[in-house]
């Protein structure tokens, strides 16, 4: 090889090495920033968990004591307002718990394994029925293909989706809930379908957001965390979740647990 060609090769090598070094430095800097962000998140979670809960339990403790000691002397209106204070403290506690759960779901380890989706869906449905034994709900579970994932987390997905369906069919004369699956692009898509109140698809973009509710709390209880948690779980499995609905005709939630399912 002539000297000039050798020189060119050498220069190219130097350039490549310099570019590689720059990329490595950028990667190290990104890793450091990510580590810092994780530390901040950890500290934030701890603060939420500890500092926000502490005043709440003082409110709960002292109002409970006042109610026990002085409650019998309260007139009906004072008692009503007092209960509103207690209910709201309780609600704030649930919201904090929801936020914590969401934060933990993003970070906790997963126990991946083969999942018997039929078993998980049946167990979850049984639990939902136990909560409201007086209700007549026609519920069916099709044969579901197996999947891979964390059994506890996927149980939570079914728990949230099925309890949502049970809740939003409460005023439906012949409530019906169906769990099934379809195949799309070679992947199993699981769904939970009901004939409840449904929702307007124009609000769809807010559906899976934290603390978002599409119906008023006075109509249907809830804290707007459930679907955000479900979405976080599905995303951690590498899957997708989406929904279709129509006001007054019901809703269907679909999810995949890719890859390998």
């Amino acid at each position: 090889m002539p000297d000039s060609a050798l020189k060119t090769c050498e220069e190219k090598r130097r350039h490549t090495e310099a570019a590689l070094e720059t990329t490595l430095q950028e990667l190290r800097s990104c890793a450091a920033r990510l580590e810092e962000a994780n530390r901040e998140l950890e500290s934030f979670t701890y603060s939420v968990s500890h500092d926000l809960r502490a005043p709440l339990r003082v409110i709960d403790g002292f109002t409970e004591m006042i109610l026990a000691q002085k409650g019998p002397d309260f007139d009906a209106e004072t008692l009503r307002k007092f209960r509103i204070v207690r209910d709201n403290a309780c609600k704030m506690g649930r919201l904090i718990e929801g936020l914590l759960m969401l934060s933990r779901l993003g970070r906790c380890g997963m126990n991946r394994g083969k999942l018997d989706m039929n078993f998980i869906a049946r167990e979850s449905l049984g639990g939902i029925r136990m909560e409201e034994p007086h209700r007549e709900i026609t519920a069916g579970i099709d044969t579901l293909p197996p999947a891979e994932g964390d059994p506890m987390m996927i149980r939570q997905v079914f728990d949230y989706l099925l309890s949502n369906s049970a809740k939003f069919t409460r005023d439906t004369p012949a409530a019906r809930i169906e769990v099934g699956s379809i195949e799309k692009n070679g992947a199993s898509v699981y769904f939970v379908k009901d004939n409840g109140i449904g929702f307007d698809m124009k609000h769809y973009d807010r559906l899976f957001n934290v603390f978002q509710r599409l119906v008023s709390e006075s109509q249907f209880e809830g804290d707007g965390m459930g679907l955000a948690l479900v979405r976080r779980i599905v995303k951690r499995h590498g899957g997708e979740i989406w929904a279709e609905a129509e006001v007054g005709k019901g809703a269907t939630f679909y999810f995949t647990l890719a890859p390998g399912s």
């Binding site: 968990s49 500890h50 809960r53 502490a54 339990r57 003082v58 409970e64």
Partner: protein
């Protein structure tokens, strides 16, 4: 006439409202207790080292400004005269890491300060059953 000595519990917590709640919960579980309190680790250690008879049980909040609950616990465990006293760490946090770090630092037990006062009282009652000799 011989008087039976009251069992003594020391609460270490920076939040005076929390101290009052814990004291009320203790009294509802065992009315005949002598409850003392300190609002920081340093004061608690001074009380323990100079205050005569050691308590039968110590409850320490894990998160305190200055000397933390865990540091206070380690000081107690390193003190030849105090190290045998049962110490239960308390935390408002529901994170498992608090429980784990408490036990690693030598705590006898861990008590989550539940948001519900009645649940906290029940949990505290179980702690007394386990750690306070003669608690019915």
């Amino acid at each position: 006439m011989e008087f039976e000595k009251k069992q003594m519990i020391l609460i270490v917590d920076d939040n005076p409202d929390d101290i009052e709640l814990t004291t009320i919960a203790l009294a509802s579980s065992e009315p005949d207790l002598c409850v003392r309190s300190a609002q920081d680790g340093g004061t608690a250690l001074r009380m323990l080292r100079t205050g005569g008879d050691p308590p039968d049980l110590i409850l320490i909040d894990i998160k305190m400004p200055g000397m933390s609950g865990l540091e206070t616990l380690r000081e107690i465990r390193a003190d030849r005269r105090l190290k045998g006293i049962p110490v239960i760490m308390l935390s408002s946090s529901s994170l498992d890491s608090d429980r784990e770090s408490s036990l690693r630092a030598g705590a006898s037990g861990f008590l989550h300060k539940s948001l519900s006062f009645s649940r906290f009282s029940n949990d505290l009652d179980k702690v007394l059953h386990e750690w306070l000799p003669g608690h019915a």
